[in-house]
Every structure is written in structure tokens, then in C-alpha cells.
Symmetry: C2
Subunit: 502 residues, 2 copies
């Protein structure tokens, strides 16, 4: 469909336009394209072949952006790995997605070198061979672009297979909802191993605009506050925890109302935003736009304008062009406006499948439509209100955690008989992980010991912050765990804590 | 590829957003979609069928925009007819493009009713039957959208067959070059029977923005000046003659520098703009962007930014994303930067073919690339400079006229033996048509008589403004007419006229 990849085409259309900015460095599209061509040639010399999959373990720095374009140019599927995962978790993902390569650099070498898997070659970007000639190849919207792992309901992550088309249609529709202008600069605040991060350099490339990488590689509110003004940022994607920290950081400034005058849009997604957070942002006249989407839909599919976010706080807006939203009851029947049911997404941005998981795929993708598991309704104006995210999903600081994944690890401890993991309210992260555990008969154990057991087996953000050893976990008559009741236990404890602070 | 047409999708994505504005009326996307659905049902009831072709004879008013969307919804190919053509010319186009319908309304009834063709039914929009139910149908980028007639080198117009994909890719790339923001309002100054006009409601529909129809249906500089400010217009497409008249109109205002503060972009195309015109526009800080394109490329394929138009006046800029420009010599070899040759256009916006003209198609579309016949070069920054339009093409007030078409009519007069038609400089229209005529031996005739002969056979803008009866037309040794020499004759006469004004 395209005679060559988007970067090569944009280098032809906008050669002198800025493509990427990091600290004191700027790359035009011609320059970025030349460096990507060089990198592609080096990767080809190292042995990367079209059709292979490459796990990528890199921080959010220019090299990662270049690598994304180079892998697209070579036809290699990108499997970006969450840097916060443990060695065990990373190994599982690489093995599960049958990666032929594990790509890293000096920042991640230590983490990468301990991962040894048959059939997967380690590739250090610091020691690449001399480039060979790589011809530009046609790209097709149906080709696989990336596999992004999400927390899974079955205790293991699932790899959402995203095509170039998923990101193409998402980019086009996103531009028309939010506007895209030649002097836009999008600050890459979301890790590139998340769909909301990966989408940004791809969009900027199609729009011919600049992606700006934060001066500090890891999230730092004060540094981001400074970056926005220094680099005249117009677009930024934030999860609620980030926005809250930015607002906290602004609060101590002499004139917080002067911040972010260049911002055209703050895309706020990844989790529900509290009305208090939205009020604080509106008080500073920040152009916050609430959005709804997920890895499986190649990021945003429903997005409000800043005006709508102000007049209808909590509302996600209308679906983006090419996507459609319906609300279904348990029988799969479409519900009218106002009625609450499962949010079902239709359109060209839906992932191809869960990699190697035909059953899980069939469960979520029915007749080409994505059954999100989230509950919500459409109001008479066609705007979506998301009521609860997938029943038991925990979202902590923008990261998704399925209880099943934590439960699987806890059940791996020989003393544990039963376990129920839930999300509890957390002032900083939105939610945090908590667990009730029933021990095997005759066992005696402290919660601390279980916490230590989880460390090394689970990424930090997935670790239970509270573990209660209990005699039994509330169940229905039919033996189904009552997660809601467990949640109430923790809420009650929190209420007492708040009344009696230390 | 799309489950339904773009308007129905935008009505779902942006139901409450304004879609069309005319005088005191505003239509939201939901309202426009509902009216188009009603119109589609009425047209279906009248007998229109998918795959048919319909000639459309309508002024630039909301009904024409609705009809475009309705015909797309029904799968009927739009053949918009230039209202300035004579009955003879219109009849030829309808017959040549095998239209099953001729659609008109009260504004064009008089012109339409005299056209009678077997196999072509007249359809008055004022007397449509009650609507039948029309289901939404999937649309495909490969489907034919419209046939737009352009002046032809062989003495007859040619119908450029444009697909939905041509306009889709053009719209996307145009948005990213010029920017597209949700509050954009595009003033429809170009007739919908020209590609530069037809493209505007299609683009606005994809962007979810508003198309504004001028208060006066025919071009009126003072009315346009008022419309821009009254309706907060952000985008407007102009041919140089229009811009010149607007600047003339502004000159008599008390503070011309206050005009058009809402304008984000003035897309200037259709003909070469003089440096004087650009200077006048820049003096008023107007955001003029020069552009290059043609009917056969579904409008603009190369467009400068306003900044570039200021710093490099006369330069058309870089190709839009997805399009590519090469410069070829007469052997079909690619020339390097700086070298002048034929401008060749590549990309997904090239017309499918000239309707029913395989030979003419093969001549212009070689290996999927469009050989424009225009001469130009690419500078080292990749910017295109157009030196001369297709050798003998005359552009008068933005309308294209091939000499062959006027010559064919003049040669139809029994007293005429030889004729050479050329474009001569015109202060208002850029160029005007002029002719040198050699009479048959023994014939004696006044130029006035030939002018009258042309009237009724040629649209007004194609009529020769000057006809010189001469003894012979300069020819090369091989008998080829030397158009350049004829042009010099008229230039010399004009120079004398300017020195000795009445």
C-alpha cells in the first residue's frame, strides 16, 4: 500500500522540518531518516531479518525512537519490554512471544545480560557491525508492527498484536479530533513500551511534527514542568498520577497560572481521573482532554475535547472517526442511549489478536468487535461515560495489573492456600495492590514474608502494599470469591487509618 | 474498506460539531447526515442506481454539498458540470461521459431543460419523490467518486476519473501540511465543479470541521472580504485573480491590515502568482501558501508553508506526504536537484484515467506516474519551482483553456483556413485568449464576425478577446506552428497599447 515506510516518505515531504528534539539536540526529518537508514543497515548486518520479532529493552531516549523506525524499515516486529519488570517476567514475555532478538544498550545491559534464552540472540546497540545497504521496502497496513504485553486475566500477560494499520488509523483519527498543526511538539511522557508511548513517534512521523523526549528519562514532575515551557510543548499525554504530581509541583511555584501557555492539549487517559484532579487542572486553565482506550485498541478510541472535559467532567467524549462504540447487555444486544452495559469497540484500530492465545482472542474479539469488559453508557449526545474498568482490573499510576497475575505468584508460595487480590484507593497512584491470604492448615507466617516472596517475581508496581492473613475469604454460596467484600475490608481499614493518623 | 461513507462516520464521531454554514444557517454533522440520508432516499426513489453517472448542474450552495454526499452514499459517480459552459459544451460532456442523469434545480433549470439526450434523464431537485429507505453501504477507496472535465490538448475536454482514494489521500496529506484544527472553517470560494472546490467539503467531512459557503454564490470580492471576517474563516483557497481582486477591494478600506485576522492559511493555486501579488499580500501579513496541483492529481500535490512563500516567493514547496515529485528529461531519466525538466508526480492521488480515452491516459500516466508536461526543477532543499505550465496551456482567472479547444471551434467556420490560439497577458485574469486567423483564399471577413461565431459555441472565459486576421501564421521549416512567435505579436501590440492609452 505504501511504496516505503512513513519516515522515508516524511523525509521526502518535510526534509527540513524538525522531527525529534532531546535536550540540546534536534533532528530534522532528513537527519532522522539518514540515521535510521544507518541503524537499519547495522541491524541488517547483525543478522536481523524481516518477519522476525525483537524484544526491546531501552529507556525513552532518541535511540529507542530511531530503533522503532529502523525495525519498521526492516520488517521486524517490535516487542517493547516494560523496564520495570523482573527478570522472570521479562524472560517469560520474550519466550512467550518467540523473539529472535533481545536489543539493549548501556542503560539496560545489566538487566539484559542475565536473560539467556535458546533461540534469542542478545544485541547490544553499543557494538553493532558496520552497516550494509538496506533497500527501502513497501509497507502494508496489514503487517504486524508490535506486540505489546498487557496484564492478563489468566495470571499471565497477553501480547496484543498491533498492525501498522492499527496505528495508522489511530493517528489519522487522533489528529482530526485533537487537531494537528505543523508547529506541534509532542512531549513523550509515556514509556515507549506502552501503547500510549509507542503511538507518539509514529503519529508525529505521519504528521511531520516533532516528538520531544523529556530531559529526564524517568518521570520527574519538576523536570517535565520545566520541559513544557522550555521546549514550547503543544501536546502531552498524561495518566492521572502524572497530572497530579505536576499540579503538586506547580503549587509551590510563584505563579502556577503562567505555566504551559504553549500547551494546546493535555491528553489524560490510562485511568479514571477524579473530579478533584480535573477541578485543579481547570482552575489553572489547562486544556485537559479526557480519553478512553486500551492496548487492544491501539490507544485512544474515545476522546473528549478540552471544552467537553470542562463542561462534562468525567465524560470521555465521542468515539474517534472510523471507530464506533456500542453498549451491550449480557445477551449481546445493543442498548439504547442512557442504558449501562459493556463497552464494545468497533473499527480499524483493534489489535489483530493476542499472540498465540486463540481462546483469549475469541473471548475479547467477537465478530471483529472488541468486548472491553468495561462498563459504561452513551448519553443522548453520543458521549461515552465509563463507569468501571474491567471488573477486577487494578490501575496503579497508569499501569494495568490484573489480580490474577499477583494471585498466581502468591499461590506459588507453599504456605498459601487461597488468595484474593484487589485494588485499594491510593492517594498517589490512584490504586494500589492489596491481598487477603488464607494459609494452609497448620502454617504460621507473617505478611512480611509473603511480601518478600513477591519481590523479584513481580515488578515493583504490582507488589501488594498490604497483605492480610485471614481465616477465610468471603465467597458466594456457589463458591465464587466476593472481591467486592474484600475491597470493603481494606476500605474500612483505610477509613480507620485516616481517622487515626500516626 | 470503510463500513459506511465518511459523512455517516463523522456524524457518529462529531454529531454536534458544525459541518456546514451558509448565511444564517448552520448544520451540525448529525443534521447534515440526516438531510443527506433524506436526499439519498429521494434520489433512490427517483431511480438513481449505484454505478450510474450523474451530471450535476448546480451553483455553489448547500444543496450541491448535500448532493455530493448523497451520491457517494448511493454509489453514483458525480460528473459536475462547469456552469459557464455553453449548451453545446455541456451536451458534449454529458454524452461523452455516458451520464444516466442530469441533476439541476431552480437556478439551473433553464440551462438544463434545453439539453435533451437519449439515455440521460433530467432530474429536478425541486420535484423529487418521497424518500425510500436507503441502507448505508461500505465504501472502497478504489471506487470512482467523480469525473471532472479539464480542457484537452486534442480540442475536446477530457474527463479525469477520480477515486474516493484520490481524495482521501489528498485530504490526509493536505491536513498535515497545512494543519487541521477542530475550529477550522473553510470558505468554499472555488466552484464545486473544479477539483479545488470539490475537495473542500470532502476534506472538511473527514476532518470534522465546517465548510462555509459564500454569501454570494458567484465570486464577489467585497462579499468574500465581509464573509471572512463575519464567519471567522480560517482557510480559503484562491486563484491569483481572486486574491488580486480581494487586495484591490481591501485597498479602499480604512484599515486593510485589520482584515482576515482569523485566517490561518490562504491556499493560492491554479496559476502562477506574480511577485507583485505576493508582495501586496505579504505587506498585509496574509498567510499565503503557494500550491501546485491539477485536476489529474486531485488538486494540490506540492504546497509551501506561508513562511516558505514569504522567504522563497514563487516556490511551490515540497511534495505533500505520500506524493513524490521527480524531474525528468526527454529520455525519461531522472534529473538531479537544480536541473530543469518535466515535473513528474507519483503517489496515490493520481486519477485513475481519462474517461474513455486510453490513448490520452497512456500518454500522461506512464508506469503509474503522471507526466504533467509542466517544466520545473527541485532545489537542493527539495522545494519545487514551477517554470512554465504545460507548454501551450492558457490559464484565465483560474480556468484552464487548451488552445486546441478554441482552435477547433474557429476552424469550424467555413471561411477559416488556419488558426493559432495563444494566451496573452491580462491584468485582471492573468491570461486571456487571443487568436491569429488565416482566411480561405478569396474570403473577406471581419474579426468581429468570428467572435460572434465563437459565442454560443464556447464558454465566455474561453472566447478570444482579440482576433487578428493575418496573411500567414509563422511556422517552422517542418511546418509546425510557432506559437511563441504569435505570442510575441500580441505582446508587441499590448506594449504599444500601454504606451498610447486611449
Amino acid at each position: 500500500m505504501f511504496p516505503s515506510d512513513w519516515l522515508s516518505q516524511q523525509a521526502n515531504a518535510s526534509p527540513t522540518h524538525e522531527a525529534m528534539i532531546w535536550r540540546e539536540q534536534t533532528w530534522t526529518y532528513a537527519e532522522l531518516n539518514a540515521q535510521v537508514q544507518q541503524l537499519s543497515g547495522q541491524l541488517a548486518a547483525a543478522g536481523l531479518l524481516s518477519g522476525q520479532r525483537a524484544a526491546v529493552l531501552l529507556p525513552n531516549q532518541p535511540r529507542f525512537v530511531m530503533l522503532i523506525h529502523a525495525l519498521i524499515r526492516l520488517g521486524v516486529v517490535i516487542v517493547p519490554v516494560n523496564l520495570r519488570l523482573t527478570r522472570e517476567e521479562i524472560t517469560w514475555q520474550i519466550e512467550h512471544s518467540r523473539c529472535s532478538w533481545l536489543i539493549f544498550d548501556e542503560h539496560t545491559r545489566e538487566k539484559a545480560e542475565v536473560i539467556q534464552l535458546p533461540g534469542c540472540r542478545a544485541l547490544d546497540l553499543q557494538g553493532l557491525p558496520a552497516a550494509v545497504d538496506v533497500p527501502l521496502r513497501a509497507i502494508d497496513l496489514d503487517s504486524d508492527l508490535a506486540i505489546i504485553h498487557t496484564s492478563g486475566t489468566t495470571g499471565f500477560p497477553k501480547g496484543a498484536v498491533q498492525t501498522l494499520g492499527n496505528h495508522f488509523w489511530s493517528a489519522i483519527a487522533s489528529a482530526f479530533r485533537q487537531g494537528a498543526v505543523p508547529n506541534d511538539r509532542w512531549l513523550l511522557t509515556i514509556p515507549l513500551y506502552h501503547v500510549g508511548g509507542l503511538a507518539i513517534p509514529l503519529r508525529c512521523c505521519l504528521y511531520g511534527t516533532a516528538v520531544v523526549l523529556p530531559s529526564k528519562t524517568n518521570f520527574d514532575a519538576n523536570s517535565l514542568i520545566a520541559d513544557v515551557d522550555q521546549f514550547n510543548i503543544t501536546l502531552v499525554s498524561l495518566v492521572p498520577t502524572m497530572l497530579q504530581r505536576i499540579l503538586d509541583g506547580l503549587q509551590v511555584q510563584t505563579d502556577p497560572g503562567q505555566w504551559g501557555k504553549s500547551l494546546r492539549l493535555i491528553l489524560l487517559g490510562g485511568a479514571a481521573a477524579s473530579s478533584n484532579l480535573l477541578e485543579r487542572a481547570h482552575a489553572l486553565h489547562l486544556p485537559v482532554a479526557q480519553t478512553y482506550g486500551m492496548t487492544e485498541t491501539a490507544s485512544q478510541v474515545v476522546t473528549a475535547t478540552p471544552e467537553l472535559t470542562r463542561t462534562k467532567p468525567g465524560c470521555a467524549g465521542t468515539p474517534l472517526l472510523f471507530n464506533r462504540i456500542t453498549i451491550e447487555n449480557e445477551l449481546g444486544e445493543n442498548l439504547p442511549a442512557g442504558a449501562t452495559g459493556e463497552i464494545v469497540v468497533h473499527g480499524p484500530t483493534l489489535m489483530r489478536e493476542y499472540d498465540g492465545e486463540p481462546e483469549a482472542t475469541t473471548k475479547i474479539l467477537k465478530n471483529g468487535s472488541l468486548h472491553s469488559g468495561d462498563l459504561g453508557y452513551l448519553d443522548p449526545e453520543g458521549d461515552l461515560w465509563v463507569l468501571t474498568r474491567r471488573s477486577d482490573l487494578i490501575i496503579s499510576g497508569g499501569e494495568n495489573i490484573y489480580p490474577a497475575e499477583v494471585e498466581r505468584v502468591l499461590l506459588g508460595h507453599p504456605a498459601v492456600r487461597e488468595v484474593c487480590v484487589v485494588g485499594v484507593e491510593d492517594p498517589t497512584w490512584g490504586q494500589a495492590v492489596a491481598a487477603e491470604v488464607v494459609l494452609q492448615t497448620g502454617q504460621n507466617l507473617q505478611a512480611e514474608e509473603l511480601e518478600n516472596f513477591c519481590r523479584g517475581r513481580l515488578a515493583g508496581y504490582k507488589l501488594p502494599r498490604q497483605i492480610r492473613i485471614v481465616a477465610e475469604i468471603p465467597q458466594t454460596a456457589s463458591g465464587k470469591i466476593q472481591r467486592g467484600e474484600v475491597q470493603k475490608h481494606f476500605a474500612a481499614i483505610r477509613a480507620v487509618d485516616l481517622e487515626n493518623p500516626d
